[in-house]
Symmetry: C2
Subunit: 392 residues, 2 copies
Amino acid sequence: MDLAYIKELHQFYQKELLEDTLPFWFPRSIDQKYGGYLLMRDADGSLIDDDKAVWIQGRAAWLLATLYNTVEKKQAWLDGAAAGIDFLLNHCFDPAGKMYFHMQRDGTPIRMRRYFFSETFAVIALAAYAKATQDARMAEKARELFTRCLEYAKGERLMTPKFEPTRPAKAIGIPMIMINTAQQLRETIGDPRCDQLIQDWIAEIERDFVKEDIRCVMEQVAPDGSIIDHIDGRTLNPGHAIEGAWFILHEARYRSNKHYQQLGCKMLDYMWERGWDKTYGGILYFLDVYGKPVQEYWQDMKFWWPQNEALIATLLAYTLTGDQKYKTWHEDLRQYTENYFHDKEHGEWYGYLHRDGSLAQTAKGNLFKGPFHLPRQQWYCMRLLSALVTAN
Amino acid sequence: MDLAYIKELHQFYQKELLEDTLPFWFPRSIDQKYGGYLLMRDADGSLIDDDKAVWIQGRAAWLLATLYNTVEKKQAWLDGAAAGIDFLLNHCFDPAGKMYFHMQRDGTPIRMRRYFFSETFAVIALAAYAKATQDARMAEKARELFTRCLEYAKGERLMTPKFEPTRPAKAIGIPMIMINTAQQLRETIGDPRCDQLIQDWIAEIERDFVKEDIRCVMEQVAPDGSIIDHIDGRTLNPGHAIEGAWFILHEARYRSNKHYQQLGCKMLDYMWERGWDKTYGGILYFLDVYGKPVQEYWQDMKFWWPQNEALIATLLAYTLTGDQKYKTWHEDLRQYTENYFHDKEHGEWYGYLHRDGSLAQTAKGNLFKGPFHLPRQQWYCMRLLSALVTAN
């Protein structure tokens, strides 16, 4: 491994995180009046909308508590995390305990959705905040909500289904989000269930979603792991599969487990081959496993988040294996994102580029984008590199 | 009016409809085994998926029955319409009478959605087929289903809501689709309710959605017609508003009503000003009323259907008013669509272009695209021009 490169890269990610991304969002986004965060912002930081997306409220609280736990004991970060936790706990649950998706600024609910991602992001926020505050009640809340997520994931707690039972399918997103949630829980407050659960979810991904014969990670499959040969079943999401790859590489590193390392690298290899745009650079959004048209029409756009997930995956793969291929991929992607996504005037990244890298629209925050994928990537890379610098 | 131009254009639309668009879809798309149509096709006509989208099943049956009623008494068209009607009636209703959205080829349901567009397209299909066959039972079914649509539209028959009641909103899509459905019903089998209903819906659009002060047609508003200053409330859909404009211009022509003519032209003017892409041509998909970022990221793409709706609106406006501006708009758009959307090798149009006119993806048919907006446009323009040729 190239130590000078590791050191330089560490400086780069630390500076980008602390001097570019974070100042874009904080402190101005903390809502002093109602708690939570005002995150729907245009490129220059001006507020587009004062609504609050529950996913992003949880993710921002997670980020601030995690920075407090792992980077520096800044009171402003802890207070910022508290604002988000208060908003989540006081407003974002319906009377039956299901979390909303979209809130008015004052905490009045606007929309519930039929999945449980609001819950998973609240788990990691509560767990990180519990660690930061050493508050046992918060840790208990995190574990209880994680239990509820497990019930949803296993189908023991039912949500109104979107589809008839005609063509049963399962999505890689469920084991993926659960792996990451369990990893966070384990790393912050500890939970004796997590090791076994993570192992089982990785086994499910390997068994049912990773297809060696066609070098592919499927986004959804039939319950027995077979490919559903219809438009939805054939649709691949390379950036998402690569995110799954790094969750598994993270586990490989945590357990020093070579099999997980090979599995994560394989998933990254397969989906980089398919998802990297050889013409313009960057990771494409959707592809059809057999090259047919997908249902979406914006499938060749470049979104910020797949690039961030691929930056983590390639750096993890490089630092675990020392394989120069992954360093090249990481550098190609880092260069690409610096050139096209990074807004050097106002800080942070644009969210949405056309395939050719031109800007499709300027929002830095909306219902789905906020301070998460980019700062998580910078934080994760910084910490990974920091450990290597220290170890060498 | 330029009669030579009218004649030439009439020939153009007739040829495109009968020798280019229809042969792409029929007869190969009629499912001889299960009824209905196999419409999810790639650019070259190869089948991408044998699923059936209920919207498009209804729309295709409407098209074939309408061609039989208005163009030529071809048995193949009538038989083709029958295949769709049978599939709709035998498979696409749940036991409570609500229509599904997405079916397996054999008629097993895959998905229900929480709106009633499947129903409105089935109404126009049934009504056109009732006229073609002179079957009173079919006419009765069309009227009963229209009554159900009225109950949904008025909120007398409830569907599971997607949103909490926090921020009530109404969409222009409801009065629009109901105007068009009622116009079809009136023109095929007659229905004494339609004139008054159409008048009321046009009045609602004029009162609540058309904003003279900012020269705009809103896509959604608060129940009192005020603009909801959040991302969703600010989002405009110029092609959709222009479709609404031509439904009203159609009514203006039917009733020789100058007020409706002015209203339709005003809506077209406002949304052409906003929606026509002065850089690349074509109608953009979404815009924010105040120029802020919208939630969607593909908002600057060019879809086939807004162009088709704008072709009808500009031609109606030109033939009603004689204003050269509308002829210019129509010709600019016709040239643009011929250059970029029309697939001269395999027939029909592509559905999805990038803003700059380059092809985003190749599907000619999927869950949302099928033989409707393009052939309806060609049929409508052909019939409008034919009436003018005859009258002059």
